[in-house]
């Protein structure tokens, strides 16, 4: 069981996008993944219910901190991976989700405010880890990167002291399209997602790839027999 919390004290860096392709990709691999939408705006849960087209996964919507704590505790005992998407401002539900996390992903787009808030979120995770007396690693994920621009290079250098994933996400329309199509990105975006997932596996934040002996129905219903899959850690 692994709990990944996606957090940032700033709105708009791509938390829900990151959550969408994480849960969608894990579900496509046959991993027993549960999503928790702890953002009161309900972007992830709405996308899951109305638009998402891949193999089914359970998505809960709960932004009240006490109920969220009980929900995380309950689903963590049943799922291989729990992904928690949080609201884009400092709030109790996000902090509760950090306390439970095995890893916190902090998306960051190039911008002065984004670098500042990413650093604050890293500090908050460290404070939570200290209060909980457990190791809660965090990693900044550079998002909407235009590699050739001075802005992206400068933002990356400004965030150089922060713990970062090597993988980053480019400024590609495919991520935005996922929000409307409900389908996982393909092409260059799909390759970036795969690279990011590989890095999370190397960090031990995600279980290794599922050895799957059955086919996965992509029509929206996961018909896989749980007895025919094996999660290799």
């Amino acid at each position: 069981m692994a709990i990944i919390t996606i957090a940032s004290s700033k709105g708009g860096p791509g938390k829900t996008t990151l959550a969408q392709f994480l849960v969608g990709s894990l579900a496509a691999e046959g991993v027993n993944v549960v999503a928790i939408d702890a953002d009161p705006t309900g972007g992830l849960s709405r996308w899951t219910a109305r638009l998402y087209e891949g193999p089914a996964f359970v998505c809960h919507h709960e932004a009240e901190d006490a109920r969220l704590a009980h929900l995380i505790h309950r689903v963590a005992q049943e799922a291989d991976v729990v992904v928690v998407d949080t609201a884009g401002f400092g709030n109790r539900a996000a902090t509760v989700a950090m306390t439970a996390a095995d890893g916190v992903l902090i998306p960051m787009v190039p911008g002065e405010g984004d670098v500042t808030e990413a650093a604050r979120t890293v500090e908050l995770v460290a404070g939570v880890a200290s209060a909980a007396r457990r190791d809660i690693p965090s990693r900044v994920v550079l998002n909407r990167v235009r590699a050739s621009t001075a802005l992206s290079k400068h933002a990356a250098s400004e965030a150089a002291a922060l713990p970062k994933l090597d993988a980053s996400l480019s400024d590609l329309v495919a991520y935005g399209e996922m929000g409307f199509s409900g389908r996982m990105p393909a092409g260059k975006a799909g390759a970036e997602v795969a690279t990011l997932m590989s890095e999370l596996r190397a960090l031990g934040w995600l279980p290794r790839r599922v050895v799957n002996t059955s086919s996965v129905n992509t029509s929206g219903v996961n018909t896989m027999d749980v007895n025919t899959k094996e999660v290799v850690r």
Binding site: H73, G90, N91, A93, T99, G127, R134
Partner: protein, 103 residues
């Protein structure tokens, strides 16, 4: 020996621990949802007839956990996915007539 780390998976924190840690690490943070969501919620009584042995066991368990019977019931319901109001999951101080401290 202090630098050696266990490779066993860490047990998940209890919901109470999560709330305690979050409260101590960032005590000033606002709730994600506004108070308006629960402003129309009012407390009401639930009277349930149960066997004395069950009630004694409930009282004993609450005492051993240092909490109230009400919270034990609320947490059990929340654990089963019942949408319990946040206020029912909080420990409230005992009333003065039962040995609690004045606010």
């Amino acid at each position: 020996m202090k630098s050696l780390k266990s490779t066993r998976a860490m047990p998940p924190l209890s919901p109470g621990e999560m709330l305690r840690v979050a409260g101590s690490a960032a005590p000033q943070q606002p709730p994600a949802i506004g108070a308006t969501d629960s402003s129309s919620d009012k407390s009401s009584m639930l009277s349930v007839r149960m066997m004395e042995t069950t009630l004694e066991a409930l009282a004993g368990f609450a005492r051993s956990q240092g909490t109230t019977q009400r919270r034990v019931i609320a947490e059990a319901l929340a654990k089963h996915g019942v949408r319990v109001a946040a206020r029912d999951l909080e420990d409230r101080p005992l009333p003065r007539r039962r040995g609690g401290l004045a606010a």
